[in-house]
């Protein structure tokens, strides 16, 4: 340990903190009022595993299992029927509004941004995991979301058969283009594992990878417009 580190260590022993509260009674009172959410999650995982095993056991059902698409931190899954989901107004349900600098600090990854003239001043964050910007492009509002490509799967999309899912490439990097019917967007916070109630998405979506980021554009854009915008985001 260097001299500076030793002095800091000594300093820590001399710090005066406010009296430490006993939070246990309030914590216990709060958790008594809640159901056990992980049991629902565990049940959901168990049911999904059973469904997967059953589907794999039936040859004609294998095609439905192939309708999974993984890209970075995102998964797109085809389903017959969408789950109950909330409608989302443009900047609502995106998370907490913060400055661009704060968003960079929270995600701890270099964010990809549009060219200077279209650069947003404000970002919306969920935990320290998902950053979203509201952009204007091609005369419409577009949402740009960014999250870590690695670690646990953070974002899950469910799409009905009326939504087409096709591969796309942005500057040579792999991507997915979702167009057509509505789909839902679910989010798992990497800190707490909380699952938000899914959001119903009516616009088209482009997902692609850049560095350690998975990026997502959502809006009423054509595929060509979305790809053009995506290429400008660096």
């Amino acid at each position: 340990m260097s001299a500076v580190e030793q002095r800091l260590h000594d300093l820590g022993r001399e710090l005066a903190f406010p009296p430490e509260p006993d939070v246990a009674p309030a914590v216990l009172a709060a958790v008594r009022r809640r159901p056990f959410p992980w049991r629902r999650v565990a049940l959901g995982v168990a049911l999904a595993a059973v469904a997967l095993a059953a589907a794999l056991a039936v040859p004609q059902a294998r095609s439905s299992i192939l309708r999974f698409f993984h890209l970075g931190g995102a998964t797109v899954e085809r389903v017959e029927t969408l789950p109950a989901a909330d409608e989302r107004a443009e900047a609502r349900g995106l998370g907490r509004p913060v400055s661009l600098q704060e968003a960079k600090r929270r995600l701890d990854l270099p964010l990809a941004l549009p060219p200077l003239h279209g650069r947003p001043r404000r970002a919306y964050v969920v935990g320290n995991s998902l950053v979203t910007f509201v952009l204007r492009a091609h005369g419409t509002t577009v949402l740009l979301s960014e999250f870590d490509s690695y670690g646990e799967q953070a974002l899950k999309k469910l799409a009905q058969p009326t939504t087409s899912v096709e591969p796309a490439r942005v500057d040579g990097a792999p991507g997915l283009w979702l167009e057509g019917g509505p789909h839902t967007l679910g989010w798992i916070d990497r800190d707490t594992g909380y699952r938000e109630r899914p959001i119903l998405v009516r616009g088209n979506v482009l997902l692609w990878l850049r560095g350690g980021l998975t990026l997502r554009l959502e809006g009423r854009l054509t595929k060509a417009q979305a790809l053009e915008l995506a290429r400008s985001i660096r």
């Binding site: 002095r7 710090l15 914590v27 216990l28 959410p37 594992g193």
Partner: protein, 185 residues
């Protein structure tokens, strides 16, 4: 037969199964460091208490996703610190860290002469001022790692960054503090 105390992994397993007594034991074990971590981030005692409380509630609800065999403390600190960051006030409204009064000697410490105690206290005051003068990112890293005594992994969890980021922030901060010390002579 004497009941042996349950280890942390067993307490976590019991809490997963809905044993609130086990969760209470874990909360009481970690609430001190959770509160102090929340305090150095939020810099307000009321906000830190709220952050610790809400953090423990969220952690309980998320226990199903806690990786078996992993260390509980970094995971808890990540959740509590995140709550604290969401309550962080503007710089002007934050409490500043303070030292114990010079007369307060911790148990086990050698008792210095009054003159030596004053000199040591002034030196610590200067060191604390130098830490507080660091940029926010470096200061938080130094406070968590050295003043709170968190491990590198816990510091990274508390700050919501990678370990490599903690290392580089600490390295830059120590260089800056070393310059201050040398100038001080």
């Amino acid at each position: 037969m004497v009941d042996r105390p349950l280890d942390e992994a067993e307490l976590v397993e019991r809490a997963r199964r809905g044993d609130l007594g086990a969760w209470e034991t874990l909360v009481r074990t970690h609430q001190g460091i959770a509160f102090r971590t929340a305090y150095v981030i939020a810099r307000n005692a009321g906000d830190a208490e709220e952050a610790a409380q809400d953090g423990f509630v969220k952690a309980y609800c998320a226990l199903g996703r806690f990786r078996r065999g992993a260390e509980l403390r970094p995971w808890l600190l990540r959740i509590v610190a995140n709550e604290a960051r969401n309550r962080r006030r503007s710089a002007a409204r934050r409490d500043r860290l303070a030292l114990l009064a010079a007369a307060e000697v911790r148990p086990g410490d050698a008792v210095p002469s009054p003159e030596a105690a004053v000199v040591a206290h002034e030196s610590q005051e200067r060191m604390l001022a130098a830490v507080e003068a660091l940029g926010e990112e470096q200061r938080d890293a130094v406070v968590c790692r050295y003043l709170l005594g968190l491990s590198e992994e816990e510091t990274a969890a508390a700050l919501g960054v990678r370990r490599g980021t903690v290392k580089s922030r600490l390295s830059r901060a120590l260089a800056r503090l070393r310059e201050n010390l040398e100038a001080e002579g």
